[in-house]
């Protein structure tokens, strides 16, 4: 009897250890080609995406993740160079008319699709009109990015039926003529934006073309070779790409993990060459440890996005401007970026972040964000004055809402604490699920809400025109005729100096005079890059460009 029992015990032990042993044994074989902790010798770049890209159709994409993949699989008329200037893409040269309304692009003749077909001007005309087509299913949420083109908006909204009236025309295979609605100084830079990318004519009638590698025909430096939902996307070099000699990477592997802890762990374990912004995350609570251990690999760069709170100007007590000002002046932004976010963010006193082009330099350098200052005495005075104007003896109950996220929560709690200590007001902090939060914000069902805004294009207008009375993203109830007029005038003129002046006036109305928004900080991009990755670039808004990168 005893013997048998021992036999059973032995069996269990063998079973328990065999898996571990098998694992160790197998590892030696696999470890060799992975290179273990040694730096990889192949031209393979590995990064992480926090989620599946919702779509790889350039006409439908509107998020960062999709854009990261699309920008390496497709190429527009121009591409963004390392220094942010426009370089030749599919277009070899371009002529812009004196009044800034007409663009003639001459396409290179050696640009090819990944299946070998030539990329022609017709592909661009087709792609743009496809997005604008009112019958396009599903409707493209970013169609408005094309509204600079003459009659594009009218055609998209169904006011004009004939697509030929839209101001884009392929006059021959390699010439594309574009007519604009208004002179738009930044139109050329939009040519490297995904909505302006060409699509191959074979996509017609195939709604799922962008979900499978064999129908996903692109014209960029890479092509998609493998897509496994929720797990990985693999890109390989596109041999048909016209500038293939500049492309050194053979492969780009993108894992799909929505856990910043796993991402960091994998980076440390040499499974990733790049971790963090813009497609992943680095856990904030580990930043101080990372600075110590991986200081040389940490890359912090200001990007043009603003983190701010908005006031509901239609709801008590924030229908009073002095109370809004008091709240905005009574917090310590420096403490927030140094103690909480810790990632090189810059305290914000304006709405347009650094990195956005102005007349000849950066807008933020030409127009400093001195719209207000943190000043406790002043804040108390303003609060008192505001309360007198409203006839309050005590301030009504105030609730601050933010979407559920650790960082937002920490910031909200710190700020409400500052308000309590500095102004003596109690502010309740409430977190809400993303969808619920957005709905409440849109419906003006809040008093103070968290918000964030990043650029669509490199011009202050991308921050200014959203606050017009009918702006779809103006969730504050703020309506100001003077503001609307300034924006309208800025759109109509091609004189860049005048545009900047008009927009800075508008920003002053928004922040200094009305304090509709309470700027907190300008975002930064925090990421880790292995030392063997060279020539990797982040642009002004933090988008990553790995197409010209190489491993050394």
């Amino acid at each position: 009897m005893k013997k048998h029992k021992k036999l059973l015990l032995l069996m269990t032990l063998i079973l328990a250890f065999s898996s571990v042993l098998a694992a160790c044994g197998a590892d030696k074989n696999e470890g060799a080609d992975n290179g273990g902790t040694d730096k990889p010798k192949e031209q393979v770049f590995r990064m992480n995406l926090a989620s599946d890209p919702p779509t790889l159709d350039p006409g439908l994409a509107q998020d960062n993740t999709s854009n990261t993949v699309i920008s390496s699989v497709f190429e527009g008329l121009v591409r963004k160079g390392a220094d942010g200037t426009e370089e030749q893409g599919v277009a070899e040269k371009w002529d812009i008319s004196e009044d800034g309304l007409k663009y003639v692009f001459t396409l290179r003749q050696d640009a090819k699709w990944s299946n070998g077909d030539p990329v022609t001007a017709k592909d661009f005309e087709y792609a743009w009109k496809r997005v604008l087509d009112p019958n396009f299913t599903p409707a493209s949420p970013y169609a408005y990015q094309l509204y600079y083109i003459k009659n594009a908006e009218a055609y998209n909204l169904g006011d004009i039926k004939d697509a030929n009236e839209v101001g884009v025309k392929a006059t021959d295979d390699y010439t594309l003529e574009v007519t604009l609605e208004n002179p738009t100084p930044y139109f050329l830079s939009l040519m490297s934006f995904q909505t302006y990318f060409p699509v191959h004519s074979s996509v017609e009638g195939n709604a799922s073309w962008a979900t499978k590698p064999d129908t996903l025909i692109g014209n960029g430096p890479f092509k998609v070779s493998q897509m496994t939902k929720g797990q990985k996307i693999e890109l390989v070099k596109n041999d048909q790409y016209w500038d293939k000699d500049s492309i050194k990477l053979e492969k780009v592997q993108m894992s799909i993990v929505n856990s910043s802890a796993t991402e960091l762990s994998s980076y440390r374990n040499d499974e990733l060459d790049y971790a963090g912004h813009p497609t992943g995350n680095i856990p904030t609570d580990q930043l101080s440890a990372i600075k110590k251990e991986l200081g040389d690999e940490l890359m912090i760069k200001g990007i043009s996005s603003t983190y701010f709170y908005i006031f509901n100007t239609t709801e008590e007590p924030f229908d009073n401007v002095n109370i809004r000002k008091a709240f905005s002046m009574a917090i310590d932004r420096k403490a927030i970026v140094e103690k909480i976010t810790q990632g090189g963010q810059i305290p914000a006193f304006g709405f347009v972040p650094p990195g956005i082009k102005g007349e000849s330099d950066e807008y933020r350098t030409e127009v400093p964000d001195t719209y207000f200052q943190e000043n406790l005495e002043e804040a108390k005075k303003l609060l008192e004055q505001g309360m007198k104007e409203k006839g309050y003896t005590t301030l009504p109950e105030v609730t601050l809402i933010h979407n559920s996220d650790d960082n937002h929560k920490k910031i909200a709690l710190a700020i409400s604490d500052m308000w309590k200590n500095n102004l003596g007001v109690n502010v309740k902090v409430q977190n809400q699920e993303w969808g619920v939060f957005l709905k409440n914000r849109t419906d003006l069902n809040y008093q103070i809400a968290r918000s964030g805004w990043g650029a669509d294009y490199n011009d202050p207008m991308t921050y200014i025109d959203m606050w017009t009375s009918n702006g779809g993203n103006n969730d504050t109830g703020f309506k100001n005729e003077e503001y609307d007029k300034l924006v309208k005038d800025a759109y109509a003129t091609s004189d860049n100096a005048k545009r900047m002046e008009l927009m800075s006036k508008a920003e002053k109305i928004l922040v200094q005079d009305n304090q509709v928004v309470m700027p907190i900080y300008y975002y930064s991009s925090v990421s880790l890059v292995k030392p063997w990755v060279k020539n990797l670039h982040l642009d002004y808004k933090g988008d990553i460009d790995f197409t010209r990168a190489y491993i050394e």
């Binding site: 048998h4 029992k5 059973l8 015990l9 069996m11 079973l15 328990a16 898996s19 694992a23 160790c24 197998a26 590892d27 696999e30 599946d52 919702p54 779509t55 159709d57 439908l60 509107q62 998020d63 299913t137 599903p138 409707a139 493209s140 949420p141 169609a143 408005y144 709604a207 799922s208 073309w209 962008a210 979900t211 496994t228 939902k229 929720g230 797990q231 990985k232 894992s255 799909i256 993990v257 929505n258 856990s259 802890a261 796993t262 762990s265 994998s266 440390r268 374990n269 499974e271 699920e433 993303w434 969808g435 619920v436 957005l438 709905k439 409440n440 849109t442 964030g452 779809g472 993203n473």
Partner: protein, 310 residues
């Protein structure tokens, strides 16, 4: 038997209908829509999208239309992931969850039962104590803590495994360990207590007295009877594990169905939410159903009375 199966099947259909209806209306009651985001589409585009996906119709009409579609086996297209059908999403992502889940179940059952048997045979001895400490830990430590710990120790520090990924056979080890710890602990405890009961029963004593050999006693009598509670537990556990552990899938970067489910809810991707819910519902009900049938074979004392008297 046939009558029993038929009645079970009928109740399954009824439950499924209730599940579908309840999920549909609850889901629509959550604020938000699939097209929301920090940057909103313009009102005109939003209206067009709503129309294209039939979201502008009255709720009840949407409901009946949806029911009509699923009866024809059409689960529709994802509203967030353009061009992907719900069926594709389920088919593509259920594979990894199923593979991982099945391995975890086999490991849990074998290790759990063996551990429980050992503990029962060495009742109140060192091995019993060790087994029970292990199982208390297994139940008490949440899987995400264990997962992170395994990643840190075995991948980052020891360098044996990859932190994430799901390609080679090695990549299965950590997620399986994290996923099966809790079931192992539970099964071990169940097996131990029921085995102890059986070991002390009269018929075992009789068998021993008759001089039956040890293996015959163990495998014919003790295990067969002792394993009964485990069978009850394994059914629902199977359904739970193969439908994808969201946490494990997130942590190890596995493209499973659990991840898609959570994502679809955050995105308000209505068709995907419904599709996966129905799929889960069917799986759970089938698991229950099979458990009931297996039970009959394992324990003849259970009578099939369900069909007639109810």
């Amino acid at each position: 038997m046939l009558r029993y199966v038929a009645s079970k099947f009928f109740y399954m259909l009824v439950s499924l209908f209730i599940l579908i209806s309840a999920t549909f209306f609850l889901m629509k009651a959550i604020p938000g829509d699939p097209f929301m985001g920090e940057k909103k589409p313009s009102p005109e585009i939003l209206a067009r999208l709503m129309e294209q996906y039939d979201l502008d119709k009255p709720l009840f009409q949407q409901y009946t239309k949806y029911l009509g579609n699923i009866v024809q086996g059409d689960f529709g297209l994802s509203m967030k992931k353009q061009g992907q059908s719900v069926t594709d999403i389920i088919v593509d992502t259920f594979g990894p969850s199923l593979r991982l889940g099945l391995i975890a179940i086999v490991v849990s059952v074998i290790v759990g039962v063996l551990l429980g048997m050992l503990a029962a045979l060495y009742h109140r001895k060192l091995i019993d104590n060790i087994a029970m400490i292990v199982s208390v830990l297994g139940i008490a430590v949440p899987s995400f803590v264990l997962a992170s710990l395994l990643q840190y120790l075995l991948a980052e520090k020891a360098g044996i495994f990859n932190v994430m990924g799901f390609e080679g056979p090695l990549d299965y080890v950590l997620p399986v360990m994290a996923l099966s710890a809790q079931p192992i602990a539970f099964i071990a405890r169940l097996t131990r207590s029921s085995m102890l009961e059986v070991l002390h029963s009269d018929y075992i004593k009789t068998a021993k007295a008759k001089g039956l050999n040890w293996f015959a006693i163990m495998f014919r009598h003790v295990i067969r009877n002792g394993i009964l509670p485990v069978v009850t537990y394994v059914g629902p556990m199977t359904a739970n594990i193969i439908t994808g552990s969201v946490v494990i899938e997130q942590i190890f970067g596995i493209g499973g169905i659990g991840k898609q489910f959570v994502e679809s809810i955050t995105n308000r991707d209505y068709t995907v939410i419904m599709g996966i819910t129905i799929f889960y519902g069917i799986l759970l009900m089938l698991a229950r159903f099979i458990t009931d049938i297996v039970y009959i074979f394992v324990d003849p004392r259970i009578k099939l009375t369900g069909g007639k008297e109810r």
